[in-house]
Each structure stands twice: as structure tokens, then as C-alpha cells.
């Protein structure tokens, strides 16, 4: 059902945890639907210096979060805004049809975190 990559990121998620003094925080999802994702970022010179997440959700949601944070690290703000849910899913070796929304959530999470960062740094 799940790919090896999904399994790996679910079992050993990267970049887990709340961040102290983040530069931006993106919170997306809805516990009513069974998923919520928080992405924390630290930005230096327009570059994602550090990123972490906390996710409430199924295995696909957790692994999508983990993969997304890995993909964000070291990229410029403009670059991370180019990340699509499709790329996340592809990097995970694909997701089952009924789990695609989890990667969409991750994409939304990136945007929300960047929005928050831009608001705060104005």
C-alpha cells in the first residue's frame, strides 16, 4: 500500500519537533478531518536555515511532512515556494490516491510558514 520511502519517513521522521523562536510558523489542516501540520522555519539571508514540523495525522501525512521539511532545507524562499505537492509525493515514491491530500497539506504548510515569516519580517 505505502512505498518504502513513505514507510521510512513515517517510522523515522526527519526534523520533528517544536522550534524555539522560529522566524515563521505555518499551521494548516483541521483536526476535524484528522490532520493538522505545523511547519517551523528559521530564515537567514532569504535561505531556509532550519526547519521542523509537528504533525497530527496518518502515516501519509507524517511522511509527507517529513519529506517536505527535507526538501525545504537550504533552499531560498523563492525555491521552496516552487515545491509542489506532486514533487513531495514523487519523492515519497508515490502516494495512494486517497492520500494525495496529505501532500497537498504539506504544500499548503510551506506557503503558510513563508507567509507568516514575511508578515513578521515586514
Amino acid at each position: 500500500m505505502y512505498s518504502k520511502e513513505v514507510m521510512d519517513h513515517f517510522r523515522h521522521p526527519r526534523n520533528v519537533g517544536k522550534m524555539e523562536n522560529p522566524d515563521g510558523v505555518g499551521k494548516v489542516g483541521d483536526p476535524q478531518c484528522g490532520d493538522e501540520m505545523i511547519i517551523y522555519i528559521k530564515v537567514e539571508n532569504n535561505i531556509i536555515k532550519d526547519v521542523s514540523f509537528e504533525t497530527y495525522g496518518c502515516a501519509a501525512a507524517i511522511s509527507s511532512s517529513s519529506m517536505t521539511t527535507e526538501m525545504m532545507k537550504g533552499k531560498t524562499i523563492e525555491e521552496v515556494l516552487q515545491i509542489t505537492n506532486k514533487q513531495v509525493a514523487d519523492n515519497l515514491g508515490g502516494l495512494p490516491a486517497n492520500k494525495i491530500h496529505c501532500s497537498v497539506l504539506a504544500e499548503d504548510g510551506i506557503r503558510a510558514a513563508i507567509d507568516d515569516y514575511r508578515k513578521k519580517s515586514k
Binding site: 513515517f10 520533528v16 490532520d35 509537528e54 497530527y56 501525512a61
Partner: protein, 383 residues
């Protein structure tokens, strides 16, 4: 990998005796019970003997038992079958909020067809609120359908009290006893019930066979038309092997009831205590008055599918009331009806045991559950 099956409210392993007895009906006693010749007559006698046995277990007449192809079919025959002999504007139906989809979606279908439908509420324990039930009865209420025991929580419903209400008001009472039969005793005369649904695969018989008890004098419109099998109420060549198997499984269930009740209830209690002792912030969803094999808990902040999936990876099979696993968008309607929060509902797990489970399995599940909860809680924003 060893399989630890704690999902016996979803379906069960077929009992060895129930497998053994069925096999000769495939290769030797394979007559069609509608055939007029010797092999047909034998087949008919076989199913009629099964009918007698099953009738005895719920204290009805053999002719009041109609064999069906599933619990879902039995439920539909009762609800659609009964209502379709009445005009929509003359027939109001009550079902509970916590019914299985076989009743709930059938009631919603009737609603679409113009029938009045009301939903009986449950309290926080998942048990029917009798005062509320009485308050939604009106002069057009013709049938009330409330399950004997709930499949998610195991909560046993106040069937006796409901039957007193329906009898007093001359309303037909249907109960979905799919999760209760074989685990508790049923007497449709003492507790007056007009229709009752059962499904073999919940009591160690195969999937794809069930029955409907239909009290003499209660008329229903068949769902399908064809030959004159099952008094034309349920046509189609009769599934002799499965009926024999279902009957044997019920025999075994009631023969070993005391022993198994004690054994399984003991396992469940150890499981419950073990979980409560090792994991904090657990909500118990199974009330005291429940079928003895079911334990439903919520671990708020952990989404059920993540748990289910992690356990499945370890060879432990359970179920969850979370949406993610079923492709739906909302969590379990039963949890919601019981006033559970979204996080509680999405974090609900059902562990349902059978005679095939062991103390070792219980210990292993407690340990595994704790490990997984610890791991996933670290990831969750809700600790």
C-alpha cells in the same frame, strides 16, 4: 510474522467445527433444496433442521427464520421491506444515531424516498437515551430499529425497555443483533421483538450468510424476486453449506458460552488495565454494560490510522474510528454521537477479541501500543 487478530467485530476466523461440517455439502450433499428428488429433499431437510436449531436459540418458530446472504441484507429486508408496504407520508421511522451503515444508510435512503426518519440519540456511554426516544415517537411512527449491541464500542442497548415502549405503542421493533447473537442470550418472546438481524461471520461462521427473524404476521416486501425459496421472501438457490456452518458456529458459541465469556472478558480486562497503566490520557469508550470482547479507547492527539498502520506493520490487527482509513472525511459517527471531540474520535481504536486470542498476545499488544504511542506523540502537536 505471527498474526495477532484483535478485529473480531469486523469479522472472525471460522470455527474449526463449522468448517469441517460444511465441507461435505460441497462435494457430496450438494443437492439443491428446491429439487424434488432425493438429494433435493435431503438438502431441504438439512436447512430446515438448521432453521429449527436457530429458532430455538432465540425462542421463535422455525418458520420465522429466513436465511439471507448477509447482515446488511437482513437489515435492509427489515427496514426497506417493512416500509415499502406503507406509503411514505404514512410511515415514520426511528433508528438510532449509532446504527451500522446497513441500517443508517437504509434509513437515509427511505428519507430520500419521502419517509419521515428520526434519529435516536445516545448518552456519553453510547447508550440509547430512552426519554429522548419516547419524545420523538409520533402517531405515524411505524417501526423502530435499534441495535442490540454496538459494533464500535460493544455497548449493549436497553432492548427490554425499548420493546416495552414499542409494544405499548404498537410499533414494530427491529433490532440489529449482529454483534450480540452468540455472545449473549436472546429471547424474542420474553423481550418482544418483531424482527431481528444476524450475520454469521461475526460469530465464527463464514461471511456471506445471515438470517432475519420475522415474526409471524409481520409482512415485508421482498427485495428480490425469483423462485419460491425461503417462502418467496428471499429467492435464490439456498446456500446449504454456509447455513449448516452458521448453525454449527452458533451451536458452538452457545455450547461454550460460559467458558468463552469468562476467558475473553478476562483477556479484555487485562488489556484495559494494561493500557490504562502504561499510557496516560486514555479515554475509555466502551461502557461497563458491553459485549465482553470489545474494548474501544481513544488516544487523543494520535490519529487512528497512524496507530492502526503501525500496529499492522507489527502483525497486530485492530480498527479505528478515524476517517483517514476509510476514505471518508468525517470520523466515526458513533464517536461523534457519543459527544467525543474530533481529536478523541480520530484517536479511537477498537480492539475486539475472540476465543482464539491468548494472554501472550495481550501482553505483546500492550507493549507495542505503548511504544507506538510514545513515538507518534513525539511527532504530534497534541501530546
Amino acid at each position: 510474522m505471527n498474526k495477532i487478530y484483535f478485529d473480531n467485530n469486523a469479522t472472525t476466523r471460522v470455527d474449526d467445527e463449522a468448517i469441517k461440517i460444511m465441507n461435505e455439502y460441497f462435494s457430496s450433499e450438494y443437492g439443491n433444496s428446491s429439487s424434488a428428488h432425493g438429494m433435493g429433499i435431503e438438502a431441504l431437510e438439512t436447512i430446515d433442521k438448521c432453521r429449527e436449531k436457530i429458532a430455538a436459540y432465540i425462542n421463535c418458530e422455525p418458520s420465522e427464520i429466513i436465511f439471507t446472504g448477509s447482515g446488511t441484507e437482513s437489515d435492509n429486508m427489515a427496514l426497506l421491506g417493512y416500509c415499502h408496504l406503507k406509503k411514505p407520508d404514512e410511515c415514520h421511522i426511528i433508528v438510532s444515531e449509532i446504527e451500522h451503515s446497513a441500517i443508517l444508510n437504509t434509513a437515509k435512503e427511505l428519507q430520500k424516498e419521502g419517509y419521515g426518519v428520526s434519529f435516536a440519540k445516545v448518552n456519553r456511554e453510547g447508550i440509547i437515551d430512552l426519554d429522548y426516544l419516547e419524545s420523538i415517537i409520533n402517531e405515524k411512527t411505524k417501526i423502530i430499529s435499534i441495535m442490540y449491541a454496538n459494533n464500535e464500542t460493544g455497548a449493549i442497548q436497553p432492548i427490554k425497555e425499548i420493546s416495552e415502549i414499542t409494544r405499548k405503542r404498537n410499533i414494530v421493533f427491529h433490532t440489529d443483533a449482529v454483534q450480540y447473537i452468540g455472545k449473549g442470550y436472546i429471547d424474542v418472546k420474553k423481550t418482544e421483538i418483531e424482527m431481528l438481524s444476524a450475520s454469521g461471520h461475526k460469530f465464527h461462521a463464514p461471511k456471506g450468510v445471515g438470517f432475519l427473524y420475522l415474526k409471524k404476521g409481520i409482512h415485508i416486501k421482498p427485495l428480490i424476486f425469483g423462485g419460491s425459496h425461503e417462502r418467496k421472501i428471499r429467492p435464490g438457490t439456498v446456500n446449504v453449506p454456509y447455513i449448516v456452518s452458521m448453525t454449527k458456529a452458533l451451536d458452538v458459541a452457545y455450547r461454550d458460552k460460559e467458558k468463552n465469556t469468562k476467558y475473553i472478558a478476562g483477556l479484555r480486562d487485562t488489556l484495559k488495565t494494561g493500557i490504562l497503566d502504561s499510557i496516560d490520557n486514555i479515554v475509555i469508550n466502551t461502557p461497563n454494560n458491553s459485549v465482553y470482547n470489545t474494548l474501544n479507547i481513544s488516544i487523543p492527539g494520535i490519529e487512528g490510522e497512524a496507530m492502526l498502520f503501525s500496529l499492522s506493520e507489527m502483525g497486530i490487527y485492530i480498527s479505528t474510528g478515524s476517517a483517514c482509513s476509510s476514505g471518508d472525511s468525517k470520523p466515526s459517527h458513533v464517536m461523534t454521537a457519543m459527544g467525543r471531540s474530533d481529536l478523541e474520535a480520530h484517536g479511537s481504536l477498537r480492539l475486539s477479541l475472540s476465543k482464539y486470542n491468548s494472554q501472550d498476545e495481550i501482553d505483546y499488544v500492550i507493549k507495542s501500543l505503548k511504544e507506538i504511542v510514545d513515538r507518534i506523540r513525539k511527532i504530534s502537536p497534541y501530546k
